[in-house]
Symmetry: C2
Subunit: 181 residues, 2 copies
DNA sequence: AAGGCCATGTAAGTAGTTACATGATTGA
DNA sequence: TCAATCATGTAACTACTTACATGGCCTT
């Protein structure tokens, strides 16, 4: 049950409406826990019902925006969750599965898929590197937001891994596919 | 929709009963696409209904075991799936989320969690390395099962990444936790 | 007043998880 | 014959996805 805690974290960083959260989940926190607006609105209702957040009394009340803020109960819940134990989930990756399938029925069409993935991971790595340059320049105190930086570096390392691995994998695939079932 | 294709792959490698598949999903294919026996039995029923597999006529018919084999339609389906495109899913990792939450409400209890994960990833890496030593010794032809080896090396690299990253992260956490909400 | 977009939702379907149920064989 | 365990399932629940619906506001 991570989505509610992702939302609590985001709201603690900055009280927001559902749509704002949705936008912020397209970057930042959403890089490692994505969510659609439908999930977010539903979860906001639950959290409000559970007394963990509340709609902040609208100062301008423009439109039908509903901005939420975290209550003490919500902060306590999140604090408890941080200390909670949970085994790392095993890898779940359709591309690796495709390779295993290809070992049985032939690799036809797989090289294009590998190239596509390579492009996506390169794009994601670039985005991460831009964020690092912007938010964690070398002259900034290393201590400030060191947790954010740690998380970002995990993303950078993972994308780097995929790029290297895909490059290596593609070397096994000459342009015209040699092996068909 | 990857589970049916994972099962088709496993059945092509070797016709099996539900329980056998379940055991094999605890290693090998299951390392990157895990499944419980409930999922497997349900999916076997669907695949049989769809005409992609069939129970192999029982030679000894011992117990109530039901062994399945893949039909041509199943092989065709899998071949088509290999060539299918699918964007890589973004990272979805509760531990990274915990770090972001900890940046807001304090890191209390997080170091134990990091150490636990470190132990798990070390264990998994050892298991992968054993498999590599057993199935892909340097003297064996590099071409034989190169796809299997590629997949295994992805697992090895990923576990290695986590071990390195967790070690680095733990350096930020002195034994007694300095920061509490 | 019409079209676009901002903002919040509902509904239905799929996939995965957890808990429980049942029959068949095997060994003490 | 009793317990264990082998083998196959059912049921209920949660999380996520996809498609669609609704109303307000803003500009032309």
């Amino acid at each position: 049950m991570s989505l509610p805690h992702a939302i609590l974290t985001a709201l603690l960083e900055k009280p927001s409406s559902g749509l704002e959260l949705t936008c912020r989940f397209d970057k930042s926190i959403g890089f490692f826990w994505s969510a659609t607006h439908q999930q977010i609105y539903r979860e906001l209702s639950r959290l409000e019902l559970g007394g963990l957040i509340r709609p902040v009394p609208q100062p301008p009340s423009r439109g039908q925006r509903k901005e939420y803020e975290v209550l003490q109960a919500g902060r306590d819940e999140l604090t408890a969750w941080v200390a909670e134990g949970q085994d790392p989930k095993p890898i779940r990756d359709a591309l690796l599965l495709r390779l295993r399938a290809a070992a049985v029925v032939g690799t036809h069409g797989l090289d294009a898929e590998l190239r596509r993935h390579l492009a996506v991971h390169r794009g994601q790595l670039d985005e991460y590197l831009d964020i690092e340059k912007r938010d964690f320049p070398p002259e900034r105190s290393a201590d400030e937001n060191r947790l954010h930086h740690l998380v970002l570096r995990a993303g950078i390392s993972l994308e780097t891994f995929w790029i290297e691995w895909l490059g290596e994998a593609l070397q096994s695939f000459p342009e015209t596919d040699p092996q068909v079932s």
